[in-house]
Symmetry: C2
Subunit: 227 residues, 2 copies
């Protein structure tokens, strides 16, 4: 093994240990953690903004937002939730467990139901870094092209859910839905897929129900049906 | 300095040396090298495909295409140019000078006028790796949002040109052109910007003229005027 590969492996091993520790703390405190990964501009912040509003006041929500520079996303999300913190990574291409641990250091975890981690926009590096999440969701916007899962397989096959975003633009950009699903399943055979548009609202209820299911909560629909 | 930071700096130093060597070889052989960097799905391959067709047969063109997996882009580009090679990087998030050197090892450089390097889709890592290029062009598609230059400053302030792509979709996605230009110039004050759409053809002539100017060639327009 090359020197670089060896060091990289040690870094990843250390991260895995710290992430496992974090996961135990989150579980013990009853926090459901969702790690959102995608290319820059796939719509992580827009999805998160709508999701935070949808989940409140039923759930207590918080968010950590990663970017190389600026706190724009945190400022934007603060309009939707009070507990939001920006992590600026400088030139680092991903969030890791140590950054998450440092950011939540002073937070009373037992007051949080959902913690969303908006990762640095990058289809490569965040795939390798566990941050102690309950679910990793990879977003793919219809404007990026159906071939992306084949070209960036690791981030898809390490995810628990694929979310096709900006689905309202599908026709305008000639998005081939069948090809996208086929390509996702070629690299991640059993990965569930949902399709959303924060603009039109399509798919947002199904997305929310998936999140609630992570907490074992009954969905609003089934509650309605039994009422 | 931390151990990791130290090693990373050594890697970058080695890459810079190799890139300088490559640049000398390219210059001596008369090859103009254009390094295309962007997010996944910003339209690098589409721009490259159209560009290769536009430049031929006036110029002898070649391309190197980086992806983590698959040779789809190379296959696609081979329809537009004969000398195309795919570099698959596995889990590596960028192309570096050593990969370029290995890929062109057997190529007779003096038979090439333009060599295009399509980097791995990533707005972070490729910024740090010189590949011996004459010009680095960073693409930003209108669907990604105007804030990206502020969030990923390094890739913009290390580029020689910004190309706003998919400009035909600007209205559909409420793209704020003024804000995009302002944000680019906030992180890279004198960076020239061009706007293109491979779909409608808008801006493609101006882009081609910029490429030709790198070789000191008169543009088709000025040739036409003096004829």
């Amino acid at each position: 093994m090359s020197r670089i590969a060896e060091i990289r492996q040690n870094v990843l091993k250390k991260n895995d240990l710290l992430a496992a520790e974090l996961r135990m703390r989150f579980t013990a405190a009853g926090v459901t953690v969702v790690n959102l990964v995608s290319s820059p501009g796939a719509g992580k912040t827009a999805l998160l903004e709508t999701t935070l509003r949808q989940l409140q006041p039923r759930y207590r929500v918080a968010a950590l937002v990663g970017d190389l520079a600026t706190d724009r996303d945190a400022q934007r999300l603060k309009r939707a939730a009070s507990q939001v913190e920006q992590i600026t990574t400088g030139t680092v291409c991903h969030l890791d467990a140590a950054m998450i641990a440092a950011a939540i250091h002073a937070w009373p975890l037992e007051t949080i139901d959902f913690l969303f981690v908006e990762n640095v926009g990058n289809l490569v590096c965040p795939a390798s870094y566990d941050v102690g999440e309950t679910m990793r969701a990879v977003l793919l916007s219809v404007t990026e092209g159906e071939d992306k899962p084949l070209k960036y397989p690791t981030i898809f096959n390490s995810a628990d859910l694929a979310v096709l975003t900006k689905i309202d633009l599908a026709d305008v950009v000639d998005f081939d839905r069948t090809a996208a699903h086929r390509n996702i399943h070629e690299v991640a055979p059993s990965l569930p897929i949902c399709e959303v548009s924060t603009k039109s609202g399509v798919g947002m209820d199904a997305w929310r129900r998936r999140l609630e299911a992570l907490r074992g909560a009954p969905s609003v629909e089934s509650t309605g049906a039994s009422a």
